[in-house]
């Protein structure tokens, strides 16, 4: 049954349906509404969890680490600076292979201070060893959140559910939330084989010498690659339950015969799709690729999705200064050895909350025609706003 819910509220409800035993969070825009809603659920007795109001994101991540290590389901949420403050813990959680779920309400990273949406935060911890799933809308965010708990448990990897700050978190739209009973049946009780247990007192977080560190990383990398199947399978299973899927690793839409592809993560693709729908008669249509799993990176699925394309526009919502777009670079790397691979046009846009209008579709398609266009650009930057020497 649909309800008109703000994104944050819907996420809080979804989290509550998964019955986490411990929730720890520290407020930060635009994640705040999620923890506020969770707090309210706890205060009203609609959710039974140990809600730990920590003094920093660092502690939030540490608390859920400790809780999960002690054998209970735990959840946290943050954004932006919070992700970076957590960074050290995030690597730690992943390295210890502790199953956790965290929502990231994606936001730019200071300086300059910006509270608005882009992907700089989650991108900054892309190598932390967490699974990163990006959500295109709030329904996906809700569904992915619930799926994430199961993925985390099955893979013994932590899962980061990324949703665009404000654009999704603060947007009210109709959402279907599953019944509690459905979730209870679908999501097995939390189990962590290496949990801290006085009856079987293991030591977690040991010091590993050079003679075994490479093996630790190999095993983690292998687990991430295996998680690709789990992510896809869990999404299919969820579809079996609810009739809704989130696209597995990535989702392709648009006309099959299109020679142009546009790949994006998160909410951007909806606007681009509308732009395509409303494009002028002379503007070509495109195949739209929604990249849901950013880590692990679905190389095989991506190659298949790009089959037959001449051009692939990759939209980044963050930038790696001195390189360009991270998603674009990674996509290029994946397609590098594919014969007849499409030419990559990598653009960052919507940085620091810059509004992306639907007209961007036409502009992007038009830009393909420019033979002098650089391999990467910040597409919506207005160079006139810069001093000449900075353009």
């Amino acid at each position: 049954m649909l309800e008109a819910l703000e994104g944050s509220q819907a996420i809080a409800r979804a989290v509550a349906l998964c019955r986490p035993d411990v929730v720890a969070a520290y407020p930060i825009t635009p994640q705040t509404h999620i923890v506020e809603n969770l707090s309210r659920l706890v205060a009203e007795g609609d959710m039974h969890t140990e809600f730990v109001s920590v003094e920093s994101e660092f502690s939030a991540a540490s608390v859920v680490l400790g809780a999960a290590a002690a054998g209970v389901r735990a959840y946290t949420a943050t954004a932006s600076q919070g992700v970076l403050l957590m960074a050290e813990v995030l690597f730690n959680i992943a390295g210890m292979r502790i199953p956790l779920v965290m929502t990231v309400a994606n936001r730019a990273v200071s300086a300059p201070l910006s509270i608005w949406n882009d992907h700089s935060d989650s991108m900054a911890v892309r190598d932390s060893g967490w699974i990163q799933l990006h959500c295109a809308d709030n329904q996906e965010a809700v569904d992915t959140t619930i799926q994430a708990f199961r993925i985390a448990q099955e893979t013994e990897l932590p899962v980061m559910v990324c949703m665009d700050g404000f654009v999704l978190t603060h947007t009210m739209e109709p959402i279907a939330l599953p019944e509690q009973k459905e979730v209870d049946n679908w999501l097995p009780p939390f189990e962590f084989s290496r949990r801290l247990d006085p009856d079987d007192p293991k030591s977690l977080g040991t010091l590993v010498a050079p003679d075994f560190f490479a093996e630790v990383r190999h095993s983690h990398h292998g687990a991430m690659l295996k998680a690709l199947d789990v992510i896809a399978a869990v999404d299919r299973d969820w579809e079996g339950l609810t009739g809704r899927a989130c696209g597995g690793l990535l989702e392709v839409s648009g006309p099959a015969e299109a020679k142009i592809g546009i790949l994006a993560m998160g909410s951007t693709l909806g606007t681009i799709a509308m732009g395509m729908e409303h494009r002028g008669p002379d503007v070509a249509s495109a195949r739209l690729i929604k990249l849901r799993a950013f880590r692990p990176f679905p190389a095989e699925a991506l190659r298949a999705a790009c089959d037959g394309l001449d051009h692939l526009i990759v939209i980044d919502r963050a930038i790696s200064p001195g390189l360009g777009g991270v998603v674009g670079t990674e996509v290029a790397a994946v397609l590098a050895d594919v014969p007849g691979a499409p030419r990559i046009h990598n653009h960052a846009m919507g940085l620091g909350g810059r509004d992306i209008p639907e007209t961007v579709y036409t502009d992007l398609v038009a830009a393909i025609a420019d033979p002098d266009a650089p391999a990467f650009s910040i597409f919506d930057a207005d160079l006139q706003k810069l001093a000449p020497e900075d353009r």
């Binding site: 649909l2 008109a4 703000e6 825009t29 635009p30 509270i115 608005w116 949406n117 809308d137 700050g165 404000f166 654009v167 603060h170 947007t171 009210m172 739209e173 109709p174 909410s267 951007t268 909806g270 606007t271 799709a273 509308m274 909350g353 509004d355 992306i356 209008p357 639907e358």
Partner: protein, 188 residues
């Protein structure tokens, strides 16, 4: 798809108004989308919020640049000459003001409906919150969604005396605004 832009001041509940309008559409069987213009503004600063309603799913997530309707929660905001920027031809603005509809329409060159929302709210609810009155006026003038949908949306958020007062306020507004005067788009 119908797009709305709400102008208010921090603390007046612009986002609440947007959510209320979206929820009203939802109760009327429409799809909806409501979101604030994500500012860091403090109490009193001008703020905006956006609403889209449509029969089908709404995928567009850009800010509302060409609204069909403007809702102006505070008459003092009319000092901003650009407040109607992007307003679709034939669109209209609902304004909480003591000035007359004609005067506003004349100033901005568009259809305008002036509602003494603050006064009515104070009168019925006892507090100067204009949202319900403005939305009731919008519904009464445009016939976009039935009035009971607004009542249902209010019911999602409020209960008890607050809810009753707001529902009485709807009736009070309905009585003072001519029905369906904006049923058809204005001729540009």
């Amino acid at each position: 798809m119908i797009e709305y832009r709400i102008h208010g001041r921090g603390g007046q509940g612009s986002v609440a108004a947007a959510y209320l309008l979206a929820a009203t559409a939802f109760h009327a069987g429409q799809m909806c989308q409501a979101f604030p213009a994500f500012g860091a503004e403090r109490r009193g600063a001008p703020v905006t919020a956006f609403v889209r309603t449509d029969a089908g799913p709404i995928r567009l997530r850009s800010q509302v640049r060409t609204p069909d309707f403007l809702i102006v929660q505070d008459g003092t905001l009319l000092q901003d000459a650009h407040i109607t920027a992007g307003l679709k031809p034939g669109g209209g603005m609902i304004v909480n003001t003591t000035r007359s509809s004609d005067e506003v329409a004349k100033t901005f060159g568009c259809r305008a409906l002036a509602v003494g929302a603050t006064a009515m709210a104070v009168e019925v609810i006892g507090r100067p919150i204009p949202n319900t009155a403005l939305l009731a006026a919008l519904l009464q003038a445009t016939g976009l969604f039935p009035i009971p949908s607004l009542a249902a949306a209010l019911k999602d958020r409020f209960s008890g005396e607050v809810l009753e007062n707001n529902i009485r306020l709807i009736d009070r507004v309905a009585a003072s605004v001519d029905k369906d005067i904006w049923k058809e788009p204005a001729v540009a």
